[in-house]
Amino acid sequence: MRTTISYLMLSFGILSNACAATFQDGQIKACDIDFEVPSTLQPAAILNATAADIGKGHFVRVYEYIAHTFEITLSDSERKTKDIDTLISNILKAQALEPKYFDVQHDAEVGREVFFLNNQTEEFSYSCKTLPSNFPKMAAVSLMTQWVSNQRDSGLYKERALNVVKQSIAHEALLKNGLAMWPWELWLNGKRLGPKDFDPLFLTQWIFMRPTAGIEINTRNRATANFDVSVGIEPIGFVHYSDQTYKDWWGASFLATSTTQAGIGVGGLLRWNNYVLGMTRHESNTVGVRSSNFLFIGIELYDYANKQRGEMTE
C-alpha cells in the first residue's frame, strides 16, 4: 500500500533528477530550457498504467509498456533513426541493464546532453545548440525507465551494505581483539586471504617464529628454577577463534627456549586466550648437569597465578 501511495505522489510531478536533464512538473528541463512532454509519457500516466506491475515486481512488463507507449508517439521515419532504435532496444532489455544506462547527463566540457554515457561501445550526445525535436520524449522515457530500475534494485543496496559492514567489523575485530600478530605473522596470514574481500575471514590464525615471554621452572629440581622472565620462540603453531568477534581463542605451538642455564629447550605449548602453558625438554651437554623437563608459564598466566595467590593469602 505504501508503495502505491508513493507512486501516486510521484505522478503529481515531484519527480526530479540531480542531473542536467530533469523531469519537473511534467516538463523536461535540459540546457536551461523547459520542454513539453506528451501526456502519455508523463510520469503520472506511465505510473498509473504500471503501478500494479511495479508493485508485483513485474518489471519487464513495465519496460515493455514504456517502450510501446514511446513508439506510438513516433512517426515511421523517427522510429528508424539509430538513436531512437537503440534507446527502445535498451528499454526492452532494461531488466538486464543497470539504471545508469538510462541516465541523461550533461557534459559541461562540451556543452552537450549525453545519453547512454556508460555504454562502452557507443554513446550519443546532443549539443545544447541543436537538440533534436524528439529529445524531450527520449529524455522522458529514459528517465522513467531509470526510475523504475532504481525501484527494482533499491532493496539490494541494503543487503550489500549489511554484508560489507559485517565483513568490515569482523576484520577490524581480528586486528583489535585477536592475538596480536608480529609483522611477519601479519604478512603470512595476509597471504592466506582469498582474492575477494567478501571471502570469509579465517578463524584459524597461523603462528610463525613468535617470541613469547614466560617463566621456566625445572620440574625435577625447583631449586634451579629460573624465575626471571625469559623468551621462548614458537617456530610454528596456530590459534583458533571461537567466532568472528575474535575475542576468544585456543591454540598450540612448538616451543624453543634458551634462557635457562640448562641449554636449549624444545617442546610445545598450549594457549587459551592470553594464557600460555608449555613444557620443554632441555638436553644437557654439561658434565654434572642432568637433562631436565621445564614447565613454561606464559607471563600473563604467571601474573594471574600470582594475583590469585596474593588474594588467597590476604
Binding site: M9, L15, S16, N17, A18, A96, L97, E98, K100, D103, Q105, D107, A108, E109, V114, N118, N119, Q120, E123, C128, L143, Q146, W147, N150, R152, D153, S154, L156, Y157, K158, E159, R160, A161, L162, V164, V165, Q167, S168, I169, H171, E172, A180, M181, W182, P183, L186, W187, N189, G190, L193, K196, D197, F198, P211, A213, D228, V231, S258, T259, I299
Partner: protein, 389 residues
Amino acid sequence: MPKNIVFFVHGVGQHKTGWSTAPDGPVSALNQAMQLYPKCFPAGKKLEDYLEVVEIRYDDIFDTVFDRWKELADTLPQNSGFGWVNAVKELMTATGGNKELFLRYGGDVLLYCGFELVARIVRLRVNSIIATKIYQAHLTANANNENIPKFGVIAHSLGTTVIQDALYQLATGNWLSDVEQNAAQPSKIQPSPYLTESDHNTYQDVIRGAKVHQDRPLPANIYALFLVSNTAPLLKRSGDYITLPTPSGAYDCDYVYNINHEFDPVSRICGGSTMINPRGNLSSWRSVTTHQIHEKNIHSFAHYLSNPAVHSRIFSKLIEPVFTDNHFNEAIALSKAQEWNDFGGPLAHLEQAAKQRLLDQLRSIVIQQGKPEALLRDAIEALATRIGD
C-alpha cells in the same frame, strides 16, 4: 531535489576525525574556491549547502597496527637470549615511538602495499561507509519520492589507490550471495556505527526485494571519481576499477578525472601523471595537469583543489544545476591565467633565486634512479620536510 553525495578519501599521513573540514582540508579549499564565483555561489554559502559531504578515514587502522606491534615489543624482556629478538624489539619500540613520523613519511604506504590483511581491512572500512551511504540515500529518496542522488568521490594520493581497490571489490564482490541463507537465518550482526537499529529491524524487506534481483554483482555506481595525484598504477592491489564494466557492459564509474601536477613527484613516480586514457576515445575519462605553485608542498590536497581547472570539474559534475556551463567556462578561462600556471598565492613574491631552487628540488626528486617504492618514500619525506628549505 536531493543533494548529491561526495566522499573525501585522504592520502598519506595522519588524519584525525574531521580532517576533511580542517583549515588545510579539501572542504575548506573548495569553500574558498567557491568565492571565486560570486555569481554562482552567494556570499556565505558553503560546500555543504550544495553537497552532502562524507569524510572517509582509514589511517586509524594503521595506528592500530603500530600500537599492537608496540604492545608486543613491550611484553618482551630486555635480554631475551635470542639476538634477533632484541633487534625486533628495538625496531618495534622505535617505530611505535615515532608513529606519526613514520606515517608522515610514507609508512602507511608500506603497510597498505606490504600487508594484504591490512589492505583488506582498509578497503572494507572504505566500502562499509560507501555502501551504507548509498543504501541510506536510496532509503531517503524512496521515502521522499525523489530520484537517487549522484555519488562522487574525491581521493588524494594513497587514497586514489585505496578507493580504486575498494570500489573494485565492492563492484565485483558477490555481496548478495547469502540472501537465501540470511532469509532462513536472520543476520546476527551487531548494530554498527553505520546502520541504525531500525535498519536491522526491517531486514526482511531486503530479502523480499532481493528476490527480483538477478544473480550478478551490484555495481558500485559511482558517478564521478576524482583521482588527485593518482598513485594507483604503481600501488594498486586489486583489479582496474576505472575500466571495470558492469555485468551488462557499462562502465561502473561514469566519469573519471585523472588530476596531477606537473611537478608532483608522487604521481610521477607512481605513473598517474603519464596515464593514457584507458577508455579509448570516450569522453568519460579526463586528464587534468596543473602547474601552479602556491605552496611548497605542491602535492597537498588543498593545493590541487584550489586550482580552477580542478574545482570547476568537481562543481560542474556534482553541483551542476547550480554551476552552469557559463560558470564552468569562466573557471576554465581563469585556470589559464598566469597565476594558475606559475608561482602565485603566498609564493607569488618569492625571490627569483628561491623560486629556481624550489623548482630544482622538485625536479631532482623525480629524476633520481632507483626502485619506485624507495623513490616514493623519499619523495613523500622530501615534500613533508626538505622542499623549499
